[in-house]
Amino acid sequence: MIYLDHAATTPMRPQVWDAMRPYALDVFGNSSGVHAVSRRAKNALEESRERVASLIGARPMEVVFTSGGTESDNLAIKGAAWNDRLRSGVVTVTTEHEAVLETADVLKRFDDPVTLVSVDRDGFVSSQDILEAIDESTAVVSVMLVNNETGLIQDIPAISNAIKAEFPDVLVHTDAVQAYASKDVKVSELGVDMMTITGHKFGGPKGAGLLYVKEGTALEPVLHGGGQELGRRSGTHDVAGVVGLSTAMELADRDRDRFNDEVGQARDEFERLILKTVDGALANTPSDHRSTHHFNVRIPGVRNESLLMRLDQDGVAASPGSACQSGAATVSHVLEGMGLTAEEARESLRFSFGWTSTMGEARDAAGVVRDLVEQLR
């Protein structure tokens, strides 16, 4: 199988599993306990917190461990909106991940002011449009760093600087889930108050993520209970998951130069071959300001659902970019947000490369795509 769906999830790096294993078996203690086995778990947890904090340029207490990207996005947005009933508004962008959009939608149903800002043809949102959407009711602005469907990189430093200059009290959150594999994300450079990361997008375990929360940021928790994570996220720690997350973040950080070099070249070669050998193929991914590992392409006259089925039969795993829980390909709200018609969105699919991808796979997969498109046309 040639796996080109790394934006959905990645295979775990073996070293991550090795690091996690003892905490699933021998060091099973509840990190809040008062005995030796719990202390060992607690030590591993806090050591992980220090490691990941330094990787993102944060202080350890600014790291809240969560169950992953969806929970982190929920905590950032609901937490900000629920903290102050008089200032509960959310401003976000039409092309965000569902974890952000659906969360905003729920708040809207409970009468919090929610504004969705549009993007241009490439998917960029302008700082000016965001500023215009903010008013005295706005608690938080959420803009994704790297788009999960197209790989487009928003200029988060410029957006957060613009917001902070005019509205210093408005919190800025970024979902950096798709970014960490290829980008060194330092919170001070991004200028954000909150940032979402999840481990399984770069060789870590599923179910382990974090939310960076800048010191002094008041959030109402989403999960209430035993008061873990300084009360910001209750629930017994998944120590093995946290250790897996921190190990994966370190490994991805160390591997990042190679990743951007080799995996980036494989993606570029795949893109070049598709655009050259498949008649009419059009990149939905912009030509610059984009990640090194995503490629979203439209192949006119070919329904993505059929091509993906045939690719699966021939051993190439890709994705429609957007799928409902049942697995059916649905019309992508990201591409629609960029102005594509529903029909054009149904002709689009996403190939995403990752830490295991090779140049050979890129060439082979491009050949399979070309042959199948010829058969389908």
Partner: protein, 349 residues
């Protein structure tokens, strides 16, 4: 041969997939996502519920075949649900399951067989497709109690030549036995009866919620025009309906006619339901051969076939029939063989 099996998660289509696999064919399973509520929720009744799709996925995994969910929500809304609303609004009694077979399941999947690199479409319907003198012919299923050839009566020979219905060769008991022997969870599942997008058979509730504009109040009258009461819309009334008429009369009363032009519901006694002949529209012939002829006609999924003769688009029953309503499908048979079918546009009392 490579077979595309439309899997609903029920016992019949599950066994159909298993039979194709056992016969040595390459098999791909698909479930059609047809309908979701206003908030995207999947139906909980009918043939394509969330748990059914999960059952289909599980059966596919057990058989070791690839399995996909295909999104046909747009086609289903436009071709089936909108038409269902339109037909009820014009005083007819539609059968959305037939419409779904016609416009979505068979039409769309057959059109895409090449795209999926498959040779045949397989479903779990209880009917048979046999080659008779080189012509793919639809026959009633082996189990007369479960025969579903009626709902497939619109399929043409060209379409049937790319369709296989393996469970139609078997009795339902045998199908359940095979399912049980394979350890299928669906082996003892009750059969789906409800329409997937109408919860608990509440047609009027569905229509009121989704198409309130088609509710136009009108009168309930006797056959001679005597005013018996009023109703808030002809939508959802069906010829032959006895309950919910809102009129209190001594003897049993039935809806005998629905006039969409004046939004009038006419009620009468059992005898007034007798229909001697019907006018048909959208007539299809499996093999393309038209012609006036005597035949047996069936106008309900599990109704008895009755002798009739077709002249042009007029079908005359040898003996008067009860509760025949515009919008219903009539399937034409010659013995076991399905000749074609049509939709009732009007009835002659």
């Amino acid at each position: 041969m490579k077979a595309l099996v439309a899997m609903s998660g029920g016992v019949d289509s599950s066994v159909a997939a298993a039979l194709m696999k056992d016969a040595g064919h390459e098999v791909i399973g698909v479930t059609l996502k047809l309908w979701s509520g206003p908030n995207g929720e999947a139906p909980t009744a009918g043939c394509c519920t969330v748990s059914d799709a999960e059952d289909a996925r599980r059966v596919a995994a057990e058989l070791g075949i690839p399995y996909y969910v295909l999104d046909y929500t747009d086609d289903f809304r436009d071709g089936v649900v909108d038409r269902f609303v339109h037909d009820y609004a014009s005083g007819q009694t539609p059968n959305p399951c037939i419409e779904c077979n016609r416009t979505v399941k068979f039409d769309r999947l057959l059109n895409r067989l090449d795209e999926f690199a498959c040779d045949v479409l397989v479903t779990g319907h209880h009917a048979r497709v046999h080659d008779i003198d080189g012509v793919a012919t639809l026959l009633r299923g082996t189990d007369p109690a479960k025969d579903q050839s009626y709902v497939l009566s619109m399929l043409t020979t060209a379409e049937l030549s790319r369709v296989q219905l393996p469970v139609g060769e078997l009795h339902k008991k045998e199908v359940r036995r095979i399912a049980a022997s394979m350890g299928m969870r669906s082996a003892h599942k009750p059969e789906s009866m409800d329409i997937c997008f109408v919860g608990q058979g509440d047609y009027r509730g569905f229509l009121r919620h989704n198409a309130p504009e088609v509710f136009i109040p009108g009168k309930v009258v006797d056959k001679d025009g005597t005013d018996l009461g009023s109703h808030d819309g002809i939508v959802g009334f069906t010829v032959g309906q006895r309950r919910g008429l809102g009129v209190a009369v001594g003897e049993p009363r039935f809806v005998v006619k629905i006039d969409s032009g004046t939004s009038t519901v006419v009620v009468g006694g059992r005898d007034d339901l007798e229909v001697n002949a019907v006018e048909l529209r959208d007539i299809t012939w499996a093999n393309g051969r038209k012609g006036d002829r005597p035949l047996t006609a069936q106008f309900r999924a599990h109704g008895e076939p009755v002798a009739a003769s077709l002249v042009g688009s007029a079908l005359t029953f040898d003996t008067p029939q009860h509760a025949v309503s515009p919008g219903q499908t009539v399937a034409f048979y010659d013995g076991e063989k399905v000749l074609g079918g049509g939709l009732i546009s009007s009835t002659y009392l």
